[in-house]
């Protein structure tokens, strides 16, 4: 059992508040990913859990004990750094066994654990090499091996894949997931890559500017973001935001966009938005919910959406089409067979069952509970 919990954790450097009161509980064996833009305080949070950074205010508990004043070595954690931080003068097996040797483990136990970790990570042939004789991906594995042999309560990862090339990154991502399935340990993983976050996490923690914006399972964040920040951060290409006005026409509610296009809301969402009729709002619609016109699948409610493509980007699996509504740029995701051309008007289908309406002032997504 190793639960990690943060209570109103604050980190202040002279002048800046890097982390501004974080509450988070990470369950036993759970894989939690902290994600957010550069400078939002992810690394700082992770380093406070590791004990490499002092906690200005609040408390961190590991396994029920407050560890604010416990040095890193007594927290029973292992950390994988962005640039691996392998000891350059030690061989791979020496790197992996360093912590155990310091703790004076018996030789055959060390041997056994190193071999076991090497087997899991597929680096059995590299044990006698020095780090500089390894490729980036291999170093990454060794860094993970060093964490695994310690058999810690908590794994901490700080952007472990960002030094790898795109292909290797995808490969190592799967590897990390596989290792976590084989060696299930409470894990906190920091990244600024939302794809990494979505694919790896049991739960994703979206951070922005020192606070948590939202915590949830990957699909939950994707389908029901609570703030404009989360809505825009999760998903790629990111959600389109369009200024609009919510109007009533008889029983129907409709959003009117800048250039006069009016989209009728599906009947189910009427109740949710009724109180906002007449207000200026922001419509949030993901590119994948703005597609070529096609027979609606079950439950889909689509509204016609006229567009004149400015830019067309074929991606293979689908084609991204960019066009303007008023002064705002919008991205749609079409099937390549629709074959859109720049300058030729088309009619897209907006899947309004999947749209969001946001309050332009607070940036909160309407109809969801506030963050808490």
């Amino acid at each position: 059992m190793a639960e990690v919990s943060l209570h109103k954790v604050v980190k202040r450097y002279e002048g800046v508040e890097a982390v501004r009161g974080i509450d988070l509980t990470i369950g036993d064996k759970e894989f939690v990913v902290l994600v957010g833009p550069s400078g939002c305080g992810k690394s700082t949070t992770l380093r406070m859990i590791a004990g490499l950074e002092e906690i200005t205010d609040g408390a961190i508990q590991i396994d029920g004990t407050v560890v604010n004043d416990v040095p890193p070595k007594d927290r029973d954690i292992a950390m994988v750094f962005q640039n691996y931080a392998l000891y350059p003068h030690m061989t791979v097996s020496e790197n992996m066994s360093f912590g155990l040797r310091l703790k004076r483990f018996p030789k055959d136990e060390i041997r056994r654990r190193v071999d076991e970790a090497a087997r899991i990570l597929n680096i059995e042939d590299l044990l006698e090499r020095k780090p500089r004789q390894l490729s980036g991906g291999q170093r990454q594995r060794v860094a993970m091996g060093r964490a695994i042999v310690r058999n810690p309560k908590v794994f901490l990862f700080d952007e472990p894949l960002s030094n790898l090339d795109a292909k290797l990154r995808v490969q190592m991502r799967t590897e990390i997931k596989r290792v976590h399935q084989q060696v299930p340990v409470t894990t906190v993983y920091v990244t600024h890559d939302q794809v990494e976050a979505m694919t790896l996490a049991d739960r994703v923690v979206v951070m922005n500017d020192g606070v948590i914006e939202q915590v949830g399972a990957p699909n939950e964040l994707y389908h029901s973001p609570r703030t404009r920040f989360v809505a825009g951060f999760i998903g790629s290409p990111s959600m389109n935001f369009l200024r609009c006005k919510l109007d009533r026409e008889g029983e129907d509610l409709m959003v009117r966009l800048a250039d006069g296009v009016a989209l009728t809301l599906p009947a189910e969402s009427r109740e949710r938005y009724r109180e906002h009729v007449g207000r200026e709002l922001v419509l949030g619609l993901r590119p994948e919910h703005l597609t070529e016109t096609r027979p609606p699948r079950n439950g889909e409610v689509v509204a016609p959406f006229p567009a004149v493509p400015d830019v067309v980007e074929p991606m293979g699996m689908d084609t991204l089409v960019y066009f303007r509504v008023g002064r705002e740029e919008v991205c749609a995701r079409m099937d390549p067979s629709a074959n859109p051309r720049v300058g030729e008007p088309i009619t897209l289908a907006a899947n309004l069952a999947r749209m969001h309406l946001l309050d332009p002032g607070s940036g909160l997504v309407l109809g969801t509970r506030p963050t808490g």
């Binding site: 590791a50 004990g51 490499l52 040095p71 890193p72 070595k73 954690i77 292992a78 950390m79 750094f81 640039n83 931080a85 392998l86 000891y87 350059p88 003068h89 360093f98 912590g99 310091l102 703790k103 020095k130 500089r132 060093r146 310690r150």
Partner: protein
């Protein structure tokens, strides 16, 4: 040059003088040739001349081969100088290295704002000309009027014959050498310390290393090359030290603090036996050369695998 280059680039491949001239290594050699000649002139000529001198008789009229060395090996004073030089150089280098390492650690841990000031101040002993600072030390060591003995007197202790007694005189010359030389180690080690990535220490911290283990398993191995090169360099310079001993004790009392350079000066210049003086100063060369080869080979080997 450009004409020959063009000509040979179209010519059928053939090992010609022109092709040889075109090779990058040849060009590099030719471009460094002036410097090589200059160094040869400034280093090899005096060294060669010293070796030549060492093989002559006192009047520099006759070739005596190893005669001077045979004569030296038979003299007790010579072996005393060898012993004193080794004690002097090795003790001084060891302490300079230790002090330099400790001070470098302290300076490294000072927040970067104040660090420049400290670095500058700590370099002072190394920057002022040794002859001058040694003079200052000479005054400090003065048996009757010096600050040291005054302080001792305040505590009711007997005055210490800093340069008068053999053991104290040895202690004093070594102390001054350490004082002058430590900043060099400090600055070299500081540079080395700064090149060790912080994350290695953080990784070690998480692996459970205490501060001593971090120094032993991280800092020292990461600094090994710098430590070796600095020590070698300092060893050579310290073995050849002249000014400190000359000014502080002039080799006395009873020749007990002489090192190679001062004794060779005494024998060669002051007593007028230049070939013998040259032999004295040449004696250490083979030993230092061997030490240099061993240390540097180790550095190169490690450098290519670290």
């Amino acid at each position: 040059m450009s004409q020959t280059a063009q000509a040979s680039s179209v010519a059928v491949p053939r090992r010609t003088m022109r092709q040889w001239l075109k090779r990058p290594s040849t060009i590099a050699f030719l471009m460094t040739l002036p410097l090589i000649l200059l160094i040869g002139l400034l280093v090899l000529y005096p060294a060669g001349y010293a070796i030549h001198l060492a093989t002559l008789n006192k009047g520099m009229t006759r070739f005596v081969g190893f005669g001077n060395f045979e004569f030296l090996f038979g003299r007790e004073t010579f072996w005393m100088v060898v012993k004193q030089s080794c004690i002097f150089a090795i003790t001084a280098v060891v302490f300079k290295a230790i002090i330099g390492f400790v001070v470098a650690h302290f300076v490294h841990n000072i927040p970067s704002k104040g660090q420049r000031k400290w670095r500058g101040m700590l370099l002072v002993p190394w920057v002022i000309p040794p002859a001058m600072s040694t003079l200052a030390w000479l005054w400090l060591f003065d048996p009757s009027y010096s600050a040291f003995n005054w302080v001792l007197a305040q505590f009711g202790a007997d005055p210490v014959p800093w340069t008068g007694d053999a053991y104290w005189a040895r202690f004093s010359v070594i102390l001054v050498n350490i004082w002058i030389g430590s900043p060099f180690f400090m600055i070299m080690y500081l540079a080395a310390l700064k090149s060790v990535p912080d994350q290695l220490y953080e990784a070690a911290l998480i692996d459970g290393a205490n501060w001593w283990q971090r120094i032993w398993y991280i800092t020292l191995p990461m600094m090994r090359n710098i430590i070796a090169i600095t020590a070698l360099f300092s060893l050579i310079v310290t073995f050849a030290n002249f000014d400190i001993v000359r000014i502080l004790t002039a080799g006395g009392p009873l020749d007990l603090t002489h090192v190679f350079a001062t004794w060779s000066f005494l024998v060669g210049i002051e007593s007028g036996d230049i070939p013998l003086g040259a032999s004295v100063s040449l004696f250490m060369m083979p030993f230092l050369a061997i030490a240099a080869v061993i240390i540097l080979r180790d550095v190169v080997k490690r450098g290519s695998q670290a």
